[in-house]
């Protein structure tokens, strides 16, 4: 197919340095694509989509009227990350993971970072992620966040920035594993020429991480899912399948004599470690929301007594609050005495009077986000919003400033993406996954989310985003 007409445009392109000039790691891929007969790439894209359909790779969308299940949109052109770049990313993620865990542990104990005036007390206490019932708790080895997904973006200067931290129940890793399977089926010859670092090790690394939460030689580990109507159910079942552990719903669990058990055909069986994919609020109706039908009554009490381990520990939401995010560089500096390897995106806190005034005056240039939302919900992109949407946003900010932050609209990097029969640049971000058990493990790769709509900057699957395979070269 003809690639000479592909225009990287004014954005940072992940595969091209300039028109007709591939980046060092992309030469082989682009030569291969150029050698394909016209229409062949589209054929392979369609074959990949059939594989996805038959595998039943789906995600759910809340409030969508097309039924609750959709096939995950996938683009066949991969993103390539060369090894030196990846080393930089990986060391930055390790640093961030350590610092965030120090921060959470401190917040639920002595709160030195508050006393030393680094993070303002009111910011901590006004956040929905801070859970007073967790004060004084000591999860195994004082690690709270075992599984994190940290969203990175690359902008015009070619540097990676952290866009947000997901330290509660980050999802998407199943798509990383499955995207690789699909690519191997549809592009086997490229895997023979490229040295792509495998991602298949993730489930066994996750299992090791979960095992590290118990002192027993062979702990019983389960994944707790809200059920098949949850948007990430596909991932819950895939991880359970690949780790060989039970996937339980909360009605399968019961607390007897202070220990958590699951109901089986042969009576009840004790559970030692729970990888829970339900939010803190819904874990235990006795401890948190009494109206929750998802929770397990008595779970928190059992957890507090150290009779069951939870991953992630309840309370980690305090660290991925979008207002706390603005302080993460200072948090890294405070606990590790290091400079952040991966910088933050400049962030304006609407709770701060000066920042707020600036935000309200520049709504047409900024992206505004609700501090406690995820999945692209509660987000306003100033340059793309209507006057009415900007005015609504201003009202929301004035009514509850603590709940909003703003960032400059970023010129996200692009990756060539198949549009009908040719390639066009589409904006991407990258969510790598980090595990913290006995050691820190970073999955080589991650979810490259792509905004499939022309010009769009919103990559969330619930908002018209798709997925690309991410090739970290060794």
């Amino acid at each position: 197919m003809k690639l000479s007409s592909y225009d990287p445009g004014e954005f940072y392109d992940e595969l091209y340095e300039g028109q007709g000039q591939p980046r060092p790691g992309s030469t082989v891929l682009l030569r291969k694509l150029a050698s394909l007969p016209e229409g062949e790439l589209k054929k392979r894209q369609e074959a990949a989509e059939r594989v996805i359909l038959n595998m039943g790779m789906t995600f759910g969308v809340y409030g969508s009227d097309h039924g609750h299940e959709q096939i995950f949109p996938f683009d066949i052109v991969p993103r390539i990350v060369v090894s030196s770049e990846w080393e930089h990313i990986e060391s930055g993620l390790r640093q961030r993971m350590r610092a965030l865990n120090f921060f959470i542990d401190d917040v639920y104990h002595d709160q030195k970072i508050i006393k030393d005036g680094v993070v303002p007390s009111e910011l901590l206490h006004s956040g929905k992620g801070f859970l007073p019932p967790c004060m004084g708790l000591n999860p195994p080895r004082r690690i709270w966040c075992h599984i994190a997904g940290i969203d990175l973006v690359r902008i015009g200067d070619g540097r990676y920035y952290v866009l947000e931290d997901n330290a509660r129940c980050p999802s998407g890793v199943a798509y990383v594993l499955e995207a690789r399977q699909v690519m191997k089926r549809t592009f086997p010859e490229l895997f023979e020429t490229y040295r792509v670092r495998p991602v298949d090790g993730y489930p066994s690394q996750l299992l090791e991480t979960l095992r590290s939460l118990s002192d027993l030689p062979d702990p019983t580990i389960v994944i707790l899912t809200p059920g098949i109507f949850n948007s990430a159910y596909y991932e819950h079942s895939l991880l359970a399948q690949k780790m060989g552990v039970e996937l339980v719903e909360s009605s399968d669990l019961i607390v007897v004599d202070g220990f958590v058990h699951m109901r089986t055909t042969k009576g009840s069986q004790r559970v030692d470690v729970i990888y829970r994919r339900i939010n803190d609020d819904y874990l235990d109706p006795l401890a948190f929301r009494p109206d929750s039908v998802l929770g397990v009554p008595g779970l928190m009490e059992s957890y507090k007594r150290g009779r069951v381990a939870l991953a992630n520990a309840p309370g980690t939401g305090v660290s991925d609050d979008k207002a706390i995010y603005a302080y993460v560089p200072k948090i890294i500096n405070y606990y590790l005495a290091e400079e952040p390897i991966l910088p933050n995106v400049p962030t304006y806190l609407c709770s701060d009077r000066r920042d707020r005034t600036y935000v309200l005056e520049h709504l047409d240039q900024l992206v505004v986000k609700a501090t406690n939302e995820a999945g692209g919900y509660g987000m306003m992109i100033g340059p793309h919003a209507s006057k009415q949407e900007r005015e609504d946003c201003a009202h929301h900010i004035e009514a509850d400033p603590r709940n909003y932050i703003a960032q400059p609209t970023l010129a996200l990097s692009r990756v060539p993406t198949l549009v009908e029969d040719h390639l066009e640049g589409r904006h991407v971000d990258l969510r790598p996954y980090v595990l913290y058990g006995r050691d820190i493990y970073v999955l080589p790769g991650g979810m490259t989310r792509v905004a499939l709509r022309k010009g769009s900057l919103v990559v969330n699957s619930s908002q018209g985003g798709g997925n690309k395979d991410t090739w970290v070269l060794s």
């Binding site: 038959n54 039943g56 059920g227 079942s237 039970e246 007897v256 004599d257």
Partner: protein, 326 residues
């Protein structure tokens, strides 16, 4: 194994088997109507009667024609037992136990579902009805083969077989019942070539024609009943289904055959023993239809006790002895 998971595996297999048997129901009727003497009206109402959903059918459609019956049994999302509904339910059950079944099993259920969904949305006409029914049977067989070849034959597999064979026993009894509802052109037609054609169409829809010929050689109503009810080696015969179901039940609980640990084993053991010691006269003495009716009621009781024994959420009691204080 989690009770919820066991229940989902059991129902996954019941629904797949049910879909296959609904294809067989429609097939038997298609075969029969093709062989009708000129001038005889096609009979579609008997088919609905055998499924046990006669009332809801009449309420929704009013009149039994080929079109309405085919739509009701194959493509109607409001009929919980239609092939389409069975596949939706089978897939939802499979989705909730993906970590326990093999990927190959899941992918087959998913493909099966997509095939049915697409065929139904394109519309089932006289031209593509027969190939569709063949596809449904083949997909069900493929699922069964994949299950046998890729899933450990442990507790989960036994729940799968239990669900499948109990469903099949029920449906074979209903296929036999089609003949009861199917009117002959005249009373004197019993035993005529036309009657014989109907009995062989029935065997054919249970995939039993060749195996029957090998055992009995020629078609006689009593022998057909004996074969489909009492044969212990033909896999769609009722007795075979009960024998293997009982094996699975005992494999699940670990108890000896000939004894019982729970209500499910007791009821199924009794029902199987009745057939062990029955001959065809016992089946037809009060009429085959009455026999089938009674059998279905007993089989329902077995299903109820499986639910009570394995799936129903039961209270779990504390194991710490209560200390009495003065």
């Amino acid at each position: 194994m989690l009770s919820r998971v066991a229940s989902s595996i059991y129902w996954l297999n019941r629904y797949i088997e049910r879909a296959e048997n609904y294809a067989r129901f429609v097939e038997v009727n298609l075969n029969l109507t093709l062989d009708l003497p000129r001038g005889t009206a096609e009979q579609w109402e008997p088919l609905v009667a055998t499924t046990g959903d006669h009332e809801s059918f009449m309420h929704r459609y009013g009149k039994a024609t080929k079109e309405t019956v085919v739509r009701f049994l194959l493509a109607d999302p409001a009929n919980a037992n239609s092939i389409l509904s069975c596949l939706v339910a089978a897939r939802e059950n499979a989705r909730s136990v993906r970590e326990v079944i093999s990927s190959d099993m899941w992918e087959q259920v998913n493909r099966f579902y997509l095939m049915v969904r697409d065929s139904v949305s394109k519309g089932l006409s006289s031209q593509n009805l027969h190939p569709f029914l063949l596809d449904v049977k083949a997909n069900s067989h493929l699922f069964l083969g994949i299950t046998d070849a890729t899933m450990s034959h442990g507790e989960g597999w036994h729940f799968a077989r239990l669900g499948r064979l109990l469903e099949r026993a029920d449906k074979t009894s209903r296929i036999l019942d089609v003949k009861y509802f199917m009117l002959l052109p005249t009373v004197t037609a019993v035993g005529t070539p036309f009657d014989i054609i109907q009995w062989s169409a029935l065997l054919k829809s249970a995939s039993a024609l060749e195996m029957y010929y090998r055992r009995f050689g020629r078609i006689s109503p009593d022998d057909v009943a004996a074969f489909l009810v009492l044969d212990s080696t033909f896999p769609r015969a009722i007795r075979y289904c009960l024998i293997k179901s009982e094996d699975s039940l005992h494999a699940i609980s670990g108890s000896e055959r000939g004894a019982y640990q729970n209500q499910a084993e007791k009821r199924l053991g009794r029902l199987r023993a009745e057939l062990d010691f029955a001959d065809v006269e016992d089946c037809v003495a009060d009429g085959l239809h009455e026999f089938v009716d009674q059998f279905q009621a007993q089989l329902n009781d077995v299903g109820d006790s499986i639910f009570e024994t394995f799936f129903a959420p039961r209270p779990i009691h504390s194991t710490i002895p209560v200390m009495e204080t003065q």
